[in-house]
């Protein structure tokens, strides 16, 4: 089959924070770069990030130290974050944040004119000894919006080529197994094109839509994970899903941790500030996994609020109208719209809600995608990943609030820098053959030829229900094994979706079918790996294995799609400039 081919030096799939930061680096370098994005870039999910970007810029506390941030992040990860990557993120972070200011990002300010920083969960001074830190740089509670628009603006200035509303379908590999680009569809015309590139960067974001209740946008369908798994590449720590403690009950819309950072706290039906029992020191600003579990236990033990006792309240009225309207204006707006509650007067009904995928495509700090061969890391030639789709791994088993935006810009930047250098040194590869392209077209061709099968909406609901009920905040072996069986049955039906409408012009039915197939790949990898990790660590909490098991599981999980097996990969404990942070009991 002969497709039109367009060729770039580097192609970035995804126009969110990570993708646009990588694109900016490459566009400035003069290499022919394109961003393929299924939505106009400022519609990407980075736009929904609220509270801020955590980084030791020394504004709130001039003595702040990136090593303290590193300590918090290692502890937050429950010790399976890679210490070399965390060291890189926390130390390079300030420079990357200042660059955002220089690009024009409208950060909130202190009286001294510096960037405003607020307290967030899991933050400390002096390696946990110096009390609560305030390290999260904020643009009111619209930090993601401010960051995403600034990056888009920076890319306009740098003349980046955007293929807006183009949908990436699958990876094209050449005869040597090197990734040489992707198949993509121009959504407006329906034309299918082979986008060839010396470097293909996945910055496709998360996949929170595998769950029925999520803070994630409709577009977060794990397209990059789906493409990688179908190409036979592994994913790492994919069982680690963060449930944000405060999604608006019923709507799933996120309420930033910054609310608790600014002094808000959670109460149960008795009006008790229950986090004092679960985390006597950090209280409401303990790690997100800890707070989410505490809320779930309050509800399970009958202390939930509302007629069905199925949520708790986030109380903020004591902060006063001025603080709420100046520091948290977006939250006031969202709460009134989605909970019919004005936080100035009443508490917001909240519940733990799927929020973030800690796992993803394993990479090094240069964004190069990795696999493991004979127990050794091996670079996947031509493929890169950064942002939520990647697992570099700075979040390990539990991400700290404010670290996702930092991850995006630090590793978007480092990926761009590495590719720039690699292009300068010269990248040679064998061009894809027609047979290589045909292989990448199998899935799309099958969908386009479908004449019978299930509907996307029904199958998606079924998938989301299984994940919500059987792979949620608390997990149990027999439940998960049952879920895995249900997923096995669902696979055939999702692979055989019926696309009734075969038209070309902006056919969203086609893209929703392709997205559902990606969601399925993420869900299956999550389920099988979660069942396999027989311990509780970070966000992965098992009723049947309640303790952390450092002897057997102080390691990354690796899910290999070809035989659906789960392996282990060593965590990096060798930072370059500081001593290793040794695992210890994780208390807040």
């Amino acid at each position: 089959m002969s497709l039109r081919k367009i060729t770039f030096d580097a192609v970035i799939v995804g126009g969110g924070g990570a993708g646009m930061r990588a694109a900016l680096q490459l566009a400035q370098s003069g290499y022919k770069t394109a961003v393929i994005t299924k939505v106009f870039p400022t519609r990407s999910h980075t736009v929904s990030a609220q509270g801020g970007i955590t980084c030791a810029i020394g504004s709130n506390d001039p003595n702040d130290d990136w090593r303290w941030h590193m300590y918090d992040t290692v502890k937050g990860s429950d010790y399976i974050g890679d210490q070399d990557a965390i060291e890189y993120m926390c130390s390079v972070g300030p420079q990357a944040v200042f660059e955002l200011d220089h690009m024009g990002m409208p950060f909130s300010r202190t009286e001294e004119g510096r960037i405003y920083q607020r307290p967030f969960g899991g933050q400390s001074k002096n390696f946990g000894e110096g009390g609560q830190a305030a390290r999260t740089c904020a643009a009111a509670d619209r930090t993601g919006h401010a960051l995403l628009h600034t990056l888009y603006q920076g890319n306009l200035k740098a003349n980046t080529v955007f293929l807006n509303e183009w949908f990436a379908v699958d990876i094209v590999k050449n005869d040597d197994g090197v990734v040489v680009g992707v198949i993509a569809i121009c959504m407006e015309t329906g034309e299918t094109v082979f986008v060839e590139s010396k470097a293909t960067v996945f910055a496709t974001g998360g996949a929170g839509r595998i769950y029925a209740s999520t803070t994630n946008a409709h577009i977060n369908t794990g397209d990059g994970i789906g493409m990688a798994l179908r190409a036979g590449f592994p994913v790492q720590d994919i069982e680690m899903w963060q449930f944000h403690p405060t999604g608006i009950h019923g709507a799933g819309v996120l309420v930033t941790e910054g609310c608790r950072g600014e002094g808000g706290y959670l109460i149960n039906k008795d009006g008790e500030r229950f986090m004092e029992r679960y985390a006597p020191n950090a209280k409401d600003l303990a790690g997100r996994d800890v707070v989410a579990r505490s809320i779930t236990l309050e509800i399970l033990e009958g202390r939930g609020c509302g007629p069905n006792g199925d949520h708790v309240f986030l109380k903020m009225d004591h902060l006063g109208e001025d603080v709420l309207h100046s520091r948290l204006p977006g939250i006031c707006e969202l709460s009134i719209t989605f909970a019919h509650t004005d936080p100035v007067k009443e508490p917001i009904p909240v519940i733990p809600t799927c929020h973030y995928m800690m796992g993803g495509i394993p990479t090094n700090v240069d964004g190069q995608a990795l696999t493991v061969v004979d127990g050794k890391d091996q670079v996947i030639q031509g493929l890169f990943a950064c942002g939520e789709v990647a697992c570099v791994s700075v979040h390990g088993a539990n991400r700290l609030g404010g670290n996702s935006l930092l991850d995006l810009i630090v590793f978007g930047r480092s990926t761009g820098l590495y590719i720039e250098k690699a292009l300068r040194d010269g990248i040679n590869y064998t061009t894809a053959t027609d047979a290589n392209i045909d292989t990448a077209m199998v899935r799309l061709n099958k969908l386009n030829a479908s004449s019978e099968g299930g509907s996307v909406a029904e199958l998606r609901k079924e998938l989301q229900g299984i994940m919500q009920n059987q792979f949620g905040v608390f997990r149990r072996g027999d439940f998960m094994q049952d879920g895995i069986k249900k997923l096995a049955d669902l696979r055939t039906r999702i692979e055989n979706i019926h696309l009734d409408d075969k038209s070309d012009a902006f056919n969203t039915a086609r893209f929703e079918a392709l997205e559902l197939q990606n969601l399925f790949e993420v869900a299956e990898a999550t389920a099988i790996t979660a069942e396999e990790r027989k311990e509780s660590r970070g966000a992965h909490a098992r009723d049947d294995f309640q303790e952390r098991d450092d002897e057997n599981w102080l390691c990354h999980s690796m899910f290999y799609p070809v035989d659906k097996s789960v392996g282990k990969r060593a965590v990096n404990f060798s930072p370059k400039t500081v001593d290793t942070f040794q695992p210890k009991a994780r208390v807040y």
């Binding site: 106009f40 400022t42 999910h45 736009v47 300010r109 200035k157 707006e333 969202l334 409408d501 902006f506």
Partner: protein
């Protein structure tokens, strides 16, 4: 059951656009318009819409809802079609339709790009951030929050007439956001770019933009400030 009337047009199969009626079971809930459309799409997946965040910050699902431009995801039925009245959904007006509720926003984005929507400061960047006082930063409030949904520009008669030459309320709001940023040094260059009969002065203060902005922003006010800057510059 709620009666929903939706603008349909598929360039491959339809000679001209038409309104199609549906019955949607809302179970009596005060759903957001986007939720209604998602329910409708379960029975008719051929309806094309744009949507992403579903919480009013990404700006994807601007559309004309019972005669008024707005974001489907933050417009409840009780506001759009009170007391069980039918819901009537059309694409945002004034720009070409690609399919159904999906419009071609090229001209809208072109006007945004025209105002150089990025910070310009040719002085060497400091080792830390450029300092900005809370008062200077406060000037950006009410401007930087724009989500580029195009509800305002496509509600503006001046933009309907001259979408190629009048920047439109959204673009001008962003123009002022950079003109007033204490860190930006290109004020003169920016004003010179805007100083013609069309870019700014086609605004006739109708304030349709203010009436529809889902983020509660006021482009007319920003345009007034730009006018004043242009007039002082000419004086």
């Amino acid at each position: 059951m709620l009666k929903v009337s939706v603008y349909r047009y598929n360039p491959e199969t339809d000679k001209e656009p038409y309104m199609k009626d549906y019955q949607v079971d809302t179970q009596g809930k005060d759903l957001m318009v986007l939720d209604v459309l998602e329910l409708l799409k379960e029975t008719d997946p051929s309806l094309a819409i744009r949507r992403s965040c579903r919480e009013g910050v990404c700006g994807s699902d601007g559309m004309n809802i019972n005669g008024k431009n707005g974001l489907a995801c933050v417009t409840p039925l009780s506001e759009a079609a009170p007391n069980g009245a039918p819901l009537v959904i059309r694409p945002l007006p004034g720009l070409p339709v690609v399919r159904d509720l999906v419009i071609d926003m090229t001209l809208f984005y072109k006007q945004y790009e025209k105002i150089k929507p990025y910070l310009i400061n040719d002085t060497p960047a400091p080792a830390i951030e450029r300092l900005q006082s809370p008062e200077e930063r406060a000037h950006l409030d009410g401007l930087y929050e724009c989500i580029l949904c195009a509800c305002c520009s496509t509600a503006c008669p001046s933009f309907w007439w001259n979408p190629d030459r009048f920047i439109g309320p959204s673009g001008l709001l962003q123009a002022y956001r950079f003109l007033i940023d204490s860190r930006d040094t290109a004020t003169e260059e920016r004003l010179a770019d805007l100083d013609d009969p069309f870019s700014v002065f086609r605004c006739h203060g109708i304030q349709a933009c203010v009436a529809v902005c889902p983020k509660g922003l006021n482009p007319t006010k920003a345009i007034g400030h730009i006018r004043n800057m242009l007039l002082s510059r000419a004086a």
